[in-house]
């Protein structure tokens, strides 16, 4: 499989060039941008497979970039990358459509691995994100709203999904989780993708109102 074509969106030029140097050889970096406006233009022109996206940008947020790019370029996948570990920011960019979230302190080979994974359509959960999700889905599911078809499955995690997330939060890799739980790596990936879908579609107020209720900063 050819190396994924990547655009790096981050307002710090130093960080962009750092990532470019680090990922050299692992992926094909086809462009970078330092703002929402610039990112929308660069992505439309370069048509990358994966966008490494900072959660905060000077003229908006990573979620905004996704909202503007995704409708026209549905093939582009996003991986959020940030030092800002406030739960509400991270959840916001995931709900906007990012396929995963990693912190900027991530090791190079892990970052390269995450980019490949997102490129293949999988979800990438850092331990931190796994913790956020477990926190958000803790407690009983909310009663279904009258005006919509209730989908209780969306509102809570299965025991297996919870188990997989806990292992992710404990720092295990997919392969290790598969080994420990006696399932295949593909099944672990399926569980994580299911969690990502719930995260994006759930009506849990913990997800939508997280900012006001928790004020969690990593």
């Amino acid at each position: 499989m050819s190396a994924p074509r990547v655009v790096v969106v981050d307002d710090h030029a130093l960080f962009r060039s750092g990532v470019r140097a680090e990922l050299e050889g692992h992926v094909d970096i086809v462009g970078d941008a330092g703002s929402v406006e610039e990112a929308v233009g660069v992505i439309a022109q370069a048509r990358p497979d994966v966008v490494l996206l900072d959660v905060h940008l000077p003229d908006g947020s990573g979620a905004e970039v996704i909202a503007r790019v995704a409708p026209e370029h549905p093939g582009v996948r996003f991986l959020a990358l940030s030092v800002s570990d406030a739960a509400e920011d991270v959840i916001a960019v995931i709900r906007a459509g990012a396929r995963g979230y990693v912190t900027k302190s991530i090791a190079v080979d892990e970052l390269a691995d995450a980019v490949h994974r997102v490129h293949e359509g999988d979800a990438v959960f850092s331990p931190r994100l796994a913790g956020f999700v477990l926190d958000a889905f803790a407690g009983a599911p909310p009663p279904p709203r009258v005006d919509e078809r209730p989908d209780p499955d969306l509102e809570q995690l299965t025991a297996r999904e919870r188990e997989v997330l806990q292992h992710l939060a404990r720092g295990y890799l997919y392969k290790e989780i598969a080994h420990r739980l006696g399932i295949s790596t593909k099944t672990v990936e399926a569980h994580v993708s299911a969690v990502l879908r719930k995260l994006q579609l759930s009506n849990r107020h913990e997800l939508s109102r997280w900012a006001t209720t928790r004020r969690l900063v990593d």
Binding site: S105, P127, R128, G131, L134, A138, A169, R170, G171, V217
Partner: protein
């Protein structure tokens, strides 16, 4: 030592003067009252004496509030005014004729002066003691209103005195023109100066906001200087030691995050997540190995919880020491009254069945400690697969 003379408002009939004297002498108020009544009826000297005492002797409430007079304005004005009348009547009785045109205004002025001086100058000139903290919840606004009304009444008495004087001397109609002119001038002046005064008030508000903002800025600058700038300077000096620089950066990041989140270590120490964060920061600083904490839920720490944190800290130390520099992952979950902590490293691992002698710390301060507090510790390790320590307390321990 005996209590100072105070009017006894609780037991008093009129102003509590007799009751106060009785309390001071340590006797029943009745005899004192009889003497006062006799003095009042025979010769009339009792009445001014009583009023004098009423005005001069502070009541209980006033004594408690340390001189901040609680006597009503009307009471004071009446008291002093009556005193003045008494004195004038006494002078008249002695044959010194004073015209009515002077008598009534003088009585009013006396009342007014008493009010203005008591309410304003006298109290202001005394050093104001700090208000009693619990007695009055918010004494300030009420106090100010009382002061204003007292001074207003005093001024009104003055004006009344002037009017009475003018009326009595027959020059009121002449004065009316002057007063009218004065009022017109006052209105004109007010109109002229109103915008200026308004602008003044507004600029005062702006200035206050500016001052608050600059104070905040100074505080922020002080914090950044004490923490971030110091660390950056340190990092420049240690630029040749990447591990040291990384550790400094991580410690500073942790501190800055806690500060941004508004968490102060003092108040956060007794909760699970902040306590683990603090332990991780400590271990990280000592062993120069990154320690990441992910916490789901949080809980207050009891004795067992403290033991859990101590054991987790020991496990982090072990992971940092034997993990060969690999990052340490700490995962904590608090739910349903139980707490669970995982400490994991990606080091070389060891054969769990043959714990080496130098790993006794793990056995004693982790496994033993958890067992003593009704918890459980499980160590999972295999050569080449890293080590994970699981600590459980409460739920299914």
């Amino acid at each position: 030592m005996r209590a100072p003379l105070r009017r006894d408002g609780a037991r008093g009939v009129l102003g509590g003067v007799c009751a106060g004297i009785a309390r001071r002498l340590g006797i029943d108020p009745l005899p004192v009252r009889v003497v006062a009544l006799v003095l009042a009826v025979a010769g009339g000297i009792g009445v001014p004496l009583y009023l004098l005492a009423w005005a001069a002797v502070p009541g209980d409430a006033e004594a408690r509030t340390m001189g901040r007079s609680r006597r009503s304005a009307v009471e004071i004005a009446l008291g002093v005014g009556l005193l003045a009348i008494a004195a004038l009547l006494a002078l008249r009785g002695m044959g010194l004729w004073i015209s009515d045109a002077i008598t009534w205004p003088l009585a009013l002025v006396a009342g007014g002066i008493a009010l203005l001086w008591r309410g304003g100058i006298l109290e202001r000139s005394q050093p104001l003691p700090a208000p009693p903290p619990v007695d009055d919840e918010q004494p300030e606004p009420a106090e100010r209103v009382a002061n204003v009304s007292r001074q207003g009444l005093g001024a009104a008495l003055f004006i009344a005195a002037g009017l009475v004087f003018l009326q009595a001397t027959g020059s009121l109609s002449a004065a009316r023109d002057v007063v009218l002119a004065a009022i017109v001038v006052a209105i004109v002046l007010a109109l002229i100066f109103a915008p200026w005064t308004l602008r003044m008030a507004r600029s005062l508000t702006v200035e206050r906001a500016e001052r608050i903002r600059s104070q905040e800025r100074a505080e922020l600058a002080a914090h950044l200087h004490d923490s971030v700038l110091q660390t950056l300077a340190l990092m420049q000096k240690r630029a040749d030691d990447p591990r040291e620089v990384a550790a400094l950066a991580r410690a500073q990041e942790r501190e800055l995050r806690a500060w941004l989140a508004g968490r102060t270590p003092a108040e956060g120490e007794r909760r699970l997540a902040p306590a683990l964060e603090a332990a991780a920061a400590d271990v990280e600083a000592t062993y120069r190995v990154p320690v990441d904490v992910v916490a789901v839920g949080d809980a207050d720490l009891d004795t067992a919880g403290e033991a859990l944190v101590a054991a987790a800290r020991e496990a982090m130390v072990n992971a940092a020491k034997f993990g060969e520099g690999s990052p340490v992952a700490v995962y904590a979950e608090a739910a349903d009254g139980g707490m669970q902590v995982f400490v994991r490293d990606r080091g070389p691992g060891f054969d769990a069945d043959a714990v080496p002698a130098d790993r006794r710390g793990l056995r004693e301060s982790v496994i033993g400690r958890m067992a003593r507090h009704g918890g459980r510790a499980t160590v999972t390790s295999a050569p080449g697969a890293g080590t994970e320590v699981e600590l459980v307390i409460g739920r299914d321990a």
